[in-house]
Symmetry: C2
Subunit: 356 residues, 2 copies
């Protein structure tokens, strides 16, 4: 009896081993498609990093006084301790108004081809100016941002140090540059998948290796490749079959709004899959709360495949191997307001007046 049981166990182990992909071959295939997150951030065009600029950018990233109500900062919707987003379907901004799209993660965003779901900002510097001025997000204005920062002596000093060649260091353009410089440092290296790519056979479980093989074999890698497993190309949501309006709301035509080209209807930037287990809910609509369900929907809509539960399960296990080391962030102590600092404004966006 016990011998029979042992035999069965050994047989099932043998089967598991037989089913597992050849690890070296798998790694070679993967290395041709994906790259690990580097330890050091890449250079930024026209925005060289220096320590003073990065530190200033960090302060501004956490600075709620950049918003009209003085309660919303970049970190409100892109929380650095929660996978770089906020876990909401779409984020409540000024007066709890909600935008149409899910907040994308800021982590590793520097590697994306462009920013926003529709790619309308060419880089992080361009992106940073958007939410600040959006009446349903931070509801401020360039003039108000500059007046706020100018009113606080420590910020004047820090802008002068960070932008020492500028005649007018405190500006909206430099605010965006400093924030982008900081954001570009927010990387999550050493994910199990990256350790596997680097040669560590044991960094992935057998199940995760099978998931990786499925991820490549089923065609997911067609859009989700490169260092971010995504973020580097645009695709229609529904290559094969459009998902229902609950997942793909028909009034958001995506990149069409940017290019006005009919072929860009319902086209979106393919999101990065880095740290995807931390960034529910999923898709630009934020309508799908389970990673398993998201994988199944992708199979149907993009690949025309009805993935089995076991296949989905393995791919989810693989996706969990994309969670890297999260940034360890010490909160910057922010300097106090002065009598010249504009008061919070809860009325119209960016009215440029001292509120209250």
């Amino acid at each position: 009896m016990r011998r029979a049981l042992l035999g069965a166990v050994l047989m099932s182990l043998a089967l598991t081993v037989a089913a597992a992909p050849d690890t070296d071959q798998l790694r070679q295939q993967a290395k041709a498609l994906f790259e690990p997150i580097p330890e050091e951030p890449p250079k930024l065009d026209g925005n060289p990093r220096n320590p003073a600029k990065v530190e200033l950018g960090k302060m501004l990233y956490f600075e709620p006084r950049l918003s009209g109500s003085q309660t919303i900062s970049c970190n409100s919707c892109h929380r650095l301790n929660m996978g770089g987003d906020d876990g909401n379907e779409t984020s409540p901004g000024h007066q709890f108004q909600k935008g149409p799209r899910n907040s994308p993660t800021v982590l590793n965003a520097v590697f994306n081809t462009a920013q926003f779901w529709d790619g309308r900002a060419e880089d992080l510097t361009d992106q940073a100016g958007g939410p600040l001025q959006n009446p349903i997000e931070m509801a401020s204005s360039p003039e108000r941002v500059v007046r706020t920062l100018e009113s606080i002596p420590e910020y004047r000093q820090r802008f002068a140090a960070a932008f020492s060649d500028d005649d007018e260091p405190v500006s909206f353009a430099n605010t965006r540059k400093a924030i982008a410089a900081y954001e570009s440092t927010l990387l999550t290296p050493n994910a199990p998948f990256d350790r596997f790519l680097a040669g560590d056979d044991d960094a992935l479980s057998a199940k995760q290796k099978e998931g990786l093989q499925l991820f490549m074999g089923k065609g997911c890698r067609g859009c989700h490749s490169g260092v971010n497993l995504g973020g580097n190309n645009y695709q229609p949501f529904g290559v094969v079959e459009k998902p229902g309006a609950e997942v793909l709301p028909r009034d958001d035509k995506g990149r069409f709004k940017v290019t006005k080209s009919a072929s860009d209807e319902y086209v979106f930037k393919v999101p990065s899959l880095r740290n995807v287990e931390l960034t529910r809910p999923y898709f630009h609509s934020g309508k799908v709360w389970s990673l398993s369900q998201a994988v199944a929907i992708m199979g149907e809509s993009q690949l025309g495949q009805d993935l089995s539960d076991a296949e989905v399960d393995k791919m989810v296990a693989f996706l969990e191997s994309l969670t890297g080391e999260q940034p360890q962030v010490t909160l910057p102590t922010l300097p106090p307001s002065t009598d010249d600092t504009p008061h919070p404004s809860f009325g119209d966006a960016g009215d440029g007046k001292v509120g209250h």
Copy 2:
């Protein structure tokens, strides 16, 4: 001409020296009234600290999923990098609704006699349950909080480690205890004033010493004494003369609501003056934005004195010496939600249902 100028400068220096109070005497007077912020937090009745509990409390302090909308945490209104409050008149909470009173600072709050402006919570543990359930603040419920925490394996483990004697470690009571345990560690020691108390003559400028002398001599110390220079007694706002309704709204009768005693109308807990330069706007109404103006109003309403601009100026300089070392906080990395975690709820407060 130059010699005459030099003479004038020397004479004015001599006058400054003559006007300065005797430093040793000043210190002795101050030490009889005030105490420095200690390096170590005091013990909590019925809630002994341990490292696991404090770390858990820190995570919960920064945990927006404790709120109905999953966007508001303790730190939203009590920002540890902004003097322990949020710089708003009153804080926008769930759906940007605003309460009637200014958010008090959490820093050094453990030394206060009681919590809230009206003292209705006896300690930090009691306080922590309030905003979580308030429909215009975090808009959650004990049941929802527990269900959220139970759904996340890392929280289950951390509660078990922090409350190892409990049969049911994940509870609303323990959530409050853990948050309070963390909050009790948020001290700001080594303010210039504390270094002066400890014997450092140069920790205060001559102007700050004059301000301290005025602070004691004019009677401010009658209410603002002890380790927190306040926080340890209740007083009517308007001992001598009630300020106008703009500063003291007549519909908020303060501690009267707690005790129902007529003598408690417009009585409030005297706020701590620790880090007061970081916590504008001022008073329970949050209606006064300038510290100078706040000091002048106190002179009139509480002391019946019309303080000169020079006196106000010196006292403000003294108050700035109460800014201690701010806590250096590394953001806790929060564990991801699971399929069992309630979704954000934007409807009624604490409905206990999975939202959305």
